[in-house]
């Protein structure tokens, strides 16, 4: 029943809210990532870009986008993701990802950090960052 409820909730958000896109630094050669790549990156399983540079994850904690991203891309609730990362931290597997409070902060960080990756509202895309296609 819980699963049904969450699905219902998810579809509600899916219908109402604006969609998100993944963004990286303009210098980053990556143009597209698979769904699995995205998931691995944001769950800390893939920590390096193709050119061996470390990936810096930026969590856009803008409520709506964050929720949509975690639920659709990572199949987790924001709370679950938080616990997930705390566990990684606790077991010494890595540091907590960087968290920013909105699209602007996210764009600003990604725009200035070569190895960063984040997600923003589709509408908020501008020249500071480069969009990465996902499939």
């Amino acid at each position: 029943m819980l699963i049904t409820l969450s699905l219902l909730l998810g579809s509600t958000f899916f219908a109402k809210a604006a969609d998100y896109i993944l963004v990286v630094n303009k210098e980053n050669p990556v143009d597209r990532l698979t769904h699995q790549d995205v998931k691995d990156i944001f769950l800390g399983k893939k920590t390096k870009w193709g050119n061996e540079l470390p990936i810096t994850i930026v969590m856009n904690t803008n409520e709506e986008i964050h929720e949509r991203f975690t639920r659709i891309m990572l199949q987790k609730s924001p709370v679950q993701l938080s616990v997930y990362w705390k566990k990684i931290l606790y077991s010494g597997g890595g540091m907590l990802p960087l968290a920013v409070k909105d699209d602007e902060a996210a764009k600003s960080y990604v725009g200035t950090h070569k190895n960063a990756i984040s997600y923003i509202t589709e509408d908020a895309l501008d020249r500071q960052v480069k969009k990465v296609e996902t499939r």
């Binding site: 010494g92 597997g93 540091m95």
Partner: protein, 574 residues
């Protein structure tokens, strides 16, 4: 009687051997069980607590990290501070383990390793108690995050260390248990083998001892008894073997056999006597059958033993003697006692008769009933022959072979008796050779003897069957003429005799002629008494000699007066 040699003490020695074997086996078993006990004790007191401690440490550490995690995730700083309390427990456990390992003679984990882990843990516990007290501020502080990540790595390292420690302790415990298992199995096999060996050894020893002490002496004794029963002779037991009961029994048996030899007559002995008897022994049953015979009997009668046994004893005798073995014999023997040297005639298998002396005596059972008759036959053929020779010597003249004086008088009596009964007459001729003394003196005794032999044989030729020639001694002969019809017959024969004697004969190269003077007396005319008949014939012979020799003279009535006068004179002279 030394106890050392008795069977009882030897059996006790066997039991002692068995007990020693049992004791050795028990001691070995005791020793092995004790070492097993020691190992198990060590396992329980040393290895097992260490393994448990290792396990507890791991468990407690896991519990602590879980609680810290929970506190971290939930932000419950209170839970975190509660969890700090486990650090002291874990620390003391580590101390205890370290102490135990240090005291352990063969530590399976180096104390340095445990010490390092303990020190690492102490650092970890110290940092953890500081870090987790501020868990609620984790998102805001990067330093805190760094510390937590550091702590997480340290925690992972410790977990690996404790797991390894636990594993090593447990592995050691298991290997110890395995080792004990192997040792137990080895002990069991060793003990089993030992018990079997002891059992075998003891069995073997007891078997040997029993064989030496009981079986062999008993077998020897048995053999000796058999030997004695077969041959009436026993082997003297060795002096040394008389130390135990069986030895003494063997000795006693031997002594008994020696006593028996002295006090009893063996069958062999009796058989020997019977075999070597000169007489034929026959034991006859009361019913008259033959029960026992000896070799002499078999030889004497020409039978084999099988032929005789069971046969009627009467068949050994001639038909006229058969009645000897009648029931009356038993009565006679019972009444008069043994019969001795009764003369009988026996019959051999091939029908030959021979004279024998029979002796018989009744044989009784100890209870008194008649068992049989013991008969002894002695062949007296030779005795009879000797007797016959003796008889002949007594009745016949050794030189001439004709009857002698004794037989003459005997026969004369017979003739008188027969003639009286048959009412007939007979004559008595008294012969005296003429001039025999001269021949004897001039030509020697040998020729004299030859003359006498010639005369005797000529006289024998002349007389008829039923008549008898006798030599009275010297050159005097007598003839009894039994079958006479008249007195004239006697004179005819006398004349014939004078003729016959007068015929010349050769003696040692000489030719001799003899003469004979014959006196005749007649029965019953001249008397019915031997002496009278002889005297009258003698007298008549003198008359014949006086008449001119080589003639004969018959006694007649006319001679009676002179004869009587002559005989009275002779009596008087005597």
């Amino acid at each position: 009687m030394s106890d050392g040699g008795s069977i009882r003490s030897r059996i006790w020695r066997c039991v002692l051997v068995a007990l020693i074997g049992y004791f050795v086996a028990t001691m070995a078993s005791f020793y092995l069980n004790m070492s097993q006990y020691d190992r198990l004790s060590k396992l329980v007191q040393v290895h097992f607590p260490q393994a448990t401690l290792g396990n507890d440490i791991l468990y407690t550490f896991k519990k602590q990290t879980e609680r810290y995690e929970e506190a971290f995730l939930t932000g419950e700083s209170e839970l975190a501070s509660q969890t700090d309390g486990l650090s002291a427990d874990l620390s003391s456990m580590l101390d205890a383990l370290l102490g135990a390992i240090k005291n352990s003679p063969h530590p399976q984990v180096s104390p340095a390793y445990v010490q390092k882990l303990r020190d690492e843990y102490r650092d970890y516990a110290h940092i953890a108690s500081n870090v987790y007290a501020h868990v609620s501020e984790v998102e805001s502080s990067l330093d805190l995050q760094k510390e937590i990540a550091q702590l997480g790595r340290s925690q992972r390292h410790l977990l690996a260390g404790f797991t390894d420690l636990d594993k090593r302790l447990n592995t050691f415990l298991i290997s110890e248990i395995e080792e004990n298992k192997t040792k137990s199995l080895k002990s069991t096999i060793f003990l089993g083998t030992l018990f079997v060996l002891v059992l075998l050894t003891v069995t073997l020893i007891i078997d040997r001892v029993a064989h030496r002490l009981l079986i062999t002496p008993l077998a020897k004794l048995q053999e000796n008894v058999h030997k004695f029963s077969r041959t009436q002779d026993a082997i003297r037991p060795e002096q040394a073997s008389a130390r135990d009961e069986i030895g003494r029994l063997a000795k006693a048996f031997w002594e008994m056999t020696q006593n028996l030899k002295v006090t009893t007559v063996s069958k062999k002995y009796v058989d020997n006597i019977i075999k070597n008897m000169t007489g034929g022994l026959v034991v006859v049953s009361p019913s008259g059958t033959i029960q026992t015979v000896n070799q002499v009997t078999l030889t004497m009668f020409g039978y084999t033993e099988d032929e005789l046994l069971g046969k009627m004893a009467a068949s050994l005798l001639t038909p006229e003697n058969e009645s000897l073995f009648s029931s009356s014999l038993i009565n006679t023997l019972e009444k008069n006692g043994p019969m001795k040297d009764r003369e009988i005639t026996c019959l051999t298998k091939n029908g030959r008769r021979f004279p024998a002396h029979f002796s018989g005596s009744a044989m009784h059972h100890e209870a008194g009933s008649l068992e049989g008759i013991i008969c002894v036959f002695n062949d007296i053929t030779e005795l009879k022959k000797a007797e016959h020779t003796l008889k002949k010597m007594a009745h016949y003249d050794a030189l001439t072979g004709v009857a002698n004086r004794n037989l003459f008088f005997e026969k004369l009596e017979n003739s008188i008796r027969d003639a009286q009964r048959e009412e007939r007459i007979f004559a008595l001729l008294y012969l005296d050779l003429d001039k025999f003394k001269a021949i004897n003196d001039s030509m020697g005794h040998e020729i004299g003897d030859l003359v006498l032999k010639t005369v005797a044989s000529r006289l024998q030729e002349v007389v008829r069957t039923g008549d008898m020639v006798a030599r009275m001694g010297g050159d005097e002969f007598t003839i009894i003429l039994n079958a006479l019809h008249s007195a004239a017959d006697a004179e005819i024969l006398a004349k014939k005799i004078t003729k016959t004697i007068a015929a010349p004969f050769a003696a040692n190269g000489f030719v001799c002629t003899l003469g004979v003077s014959i006196g005749i007396s007649l029965f019953p005319k001249d008397g019915s008494h031997t002496e009278i008949l002889v005297n009258k014939a003698d007298y008549a012979m003198y008359l014949a000699k006086a008449a001119g020799r080589n003639t004969f003279c018959r006694f007649t009535e006319e001679h009676l007066d002179n004869y009587l006068a002559n005989s009275q004179q002779r009596d008087h002279e005597l």
